[in-house]
């Protein structure tokens, strides 16, 4: 598992939540909410999907860490260590 796998796994989750968004042009350093239409309900779903798919727990105080794709990768790297990721977006 490398950082690009984690990024793909995150995009997979976003694609499921917001299937009508184009995720191919996302800048990983820019806040997701500035690039695509994600409201707080969608954001809760990202957290819930991480929990459901990978058993990862994100306390509310840490939500800010998930603001960008780069932030997601950095925050989730230790939490996802050793887990099998679902990376449909790669195929």
């Amino acid at each position: 598992m490398n950082d690009s796998d984690i990024q793909i796994a995150i995009k997979d989750i976003i694609a499921q939540i917001a299937p009508d968004e184009d995720l191919s042009q996302l800048d990983p350093a820019v806040r997701l909410r500035e690039q695509i239409e994600l409201d707080s309900m969608d954001f809760l779903d990202i957290v819930m999907e991480l929990r459901k798919l990978y058993g990862v727990q994100v306390p509310e105080a840490d939500y800010k860490e998930l603001a960008t794709l780069d932030g997601c990768v950095n925050y989730l790297r230790p939490k996802l260590a050793g887990k099998t990721l679902h990376c449909a977006a790669r195929v």
């Binding site: 239409e37 409201d39 309900m41 969608d42 809760l44 459901k52 509310e60």
Partner: protein
């Protein structure tokens, strides 16, 4: 077994709540007293025809991603295509001496209002911009009169009546007024985001919801009424069913309504004695042609024959001077069966209908036909007269609504007392649906989603997986 959540009522709020619970692995059970789901927006078959209850149009129809319906569908993972939405052609607000057309292009309403009230053109543009930019407060807001707020901004009673007529009919439990927050939500929902009808009517939406509910693993039990909510002190811990069996859960979500839910908890509601509950008499006419062929080409026509708005009870069983005509055929791409229907809705007085029911079946049936005929005759003074074309007529009353929904007095828009946070004073119990203050079909779904997100899933997200 112990459930994570029990949901009372499989209307639109309950179905949406059930999907969200199931999506994230919560053991949830929907309990519905009737044989069918849908609640205030259900369906039935009569003399070979398929009818909808409740659905006139789906609001917030815009396909923009920020639209409320778009957000609801995203949360439920239901593809928009599943609803087969046909946008309205156009609709009208009509008084005896003026008509204002609107469509899903907000510019039409703006130009029609400016043409009818040229002196208020600037004030109207300011109001429209104010509402377009307004975002509902997250915290519960106290009641404010939309009539007073609009009058202050527009300075014209007549114009205020024109704006209140459709919004009151779309969701006000109050006479001749609506809460200012709800007015703005409805203005956005009806006029800015537009209306559409699913091809196939409410069944199409309910089928999409039920299919999704099943895919999420949430169980729906029909013919399964809740007799009471079980309490442990000030905490709701489960329900007792009509058959005497008991079910236990961490959360109980009730779409039964505020007073009805308090009654399930054994509390006597204390209604305001000055309050007069509003309900409706609804007549569904199946014609031998489309209403458009007769010149009735509005998707929805909100009308008032009196000089001033009379969205209010009158001493008689119905108030025939003011109402709504709804023509499913005047939306794009609708099924031929629906294209010949005209639905007429007028205000009804629940007390008078209770008295009529008490006088026996024959009198009650006769009264239904008499008041339906009065409403149709009244509308014929403003619209093309469809009465000679009616092949089949079904009429329902406050009594019918109360019977099938359990809402006291057949209150379609619930209690005037709204609880935006769903809190009615018991731990583990939240209201969803009409009395949580959301409006219409889309609002009902959003209410179920919002309460589950905030009170069940957010807490789950915090806890260890």
């Amino acid at each position: 077994m112990r459930y994570d959540a029990l949901v009372i009522g499989a209307g639109l709020s309950g179905l949406a709540a059930g999907i969200r619970l199931g999506m994230y692995g919560k053991q949830a059970l929907l309990l519905e007293r009737h044989a069918l789901w849908g609640g205030l927006n259900s369906f039935y078959r009569l003399r070979g025809r398929r009818h909808d209850v409740g659905l006139h149009a789906l609001t917030n129809a815009t396909s923009a991603r920020t639209g409320v319906l778009s957000r609801v569908l995203r949360q439920l993972r239901i593809p928009r295509e599943a609803l087969q939405l046909g946008p309205q052609l156009r609709s009208v607000i009509r008084f005896s001496d003026l008509e204002v057309w609107f469509s899903n292009d907000p510019a039409l309403l703006e130009s029609e209002l400016a043409a009818a009230f040229p002196a208020r053109r600037d004030a109207l543009a300011t109001l429209s911009a104010e509402i377009a930019n307004w975002v509902p407060e997250a915290r519960p807001m106290p009641f404010a009169s939309a009539r007073a707020e609009l009058l202050r901004r527009l300075g014209d009673e007549r114009l205020v009546d024109v704006l209140l007529l459709p919004t009151c009919y779309y969701g006000s439990p109050l006479e001749n007024d609506i809460d200012w927050t709800q007015f703005r939500i409805l203005y956005q929902s009806l006029f800015l985001e537009g209306i559409a009808r699913p091809r196939g009517g409410i069944r199409t939406l309910l089928t999409a919801l039920k299919t999704r509910l099943e895919a999420c693993g949430t169980e729906l039990r029909t013919n399964c009424g809740v007799e009471r909510i079980l309490l442990d002190g000030a905490r709701a811990v489960g329900v007792r069913l009509d058959d005497g069996s008991e079910l236990f859960a961490d959360h109980v979500l009730s779409s039964a309504g505020l007073d009805e839910t308090l009654a399930l908890c054994g509390r006597k509601p204390e209604p305001d004695p000055a309050r007069r509950d509003l309900s409706f008499l609804e007549s569904i006419h199946a014609l031998d042609c489309t209403p458009a062929a007769l010149g009735l080409d509005a998707a929805v026509a909100f009308y008032c024959l009196a000089d001033r708005l009379c969205y209010a009870q009158n001493e008689a069983p119905t108030e025939p001077r003011c109402g709504v005509l709804s023509c499913p055929g005047n939306y794009a791409d609708q099924e031929p069966e629906a294209a010949v229907l005209v639905r007429q809705t007028v205000i009804a007085n629940p007390q008078r209908w209770r008295e009529l029911v008490a006088r026996g079946d024959e009198e009650y049936r006769a009264a239904k036909l008499e008041h339906s005929a009065r409403a149709a005759a009244a509308a014929a003074s403003l619209f093309p007269d469809w009465r000679a074309h009616t092949l089949d007529l079904d009429v329902f009353t406050p009594r019918t609504i109360e019977h099938y929904t359990g809402h006291v007095n057949g209150r379609v828009y619930g209690s005037p007392d709204k609880r935006q946070d769903g809190d009615i004073g018991f731990e583990g119990l939240r209201l969803i649906g009409t009395d949580q203050g959301y409006l219409g079909i889309v609002g009902a779904m959003m209410s179920g989603i919002g309460i589950v997100n905030r009170h069940v899933l957010a807490a789950a997200a915090e806890s260890a997986p």
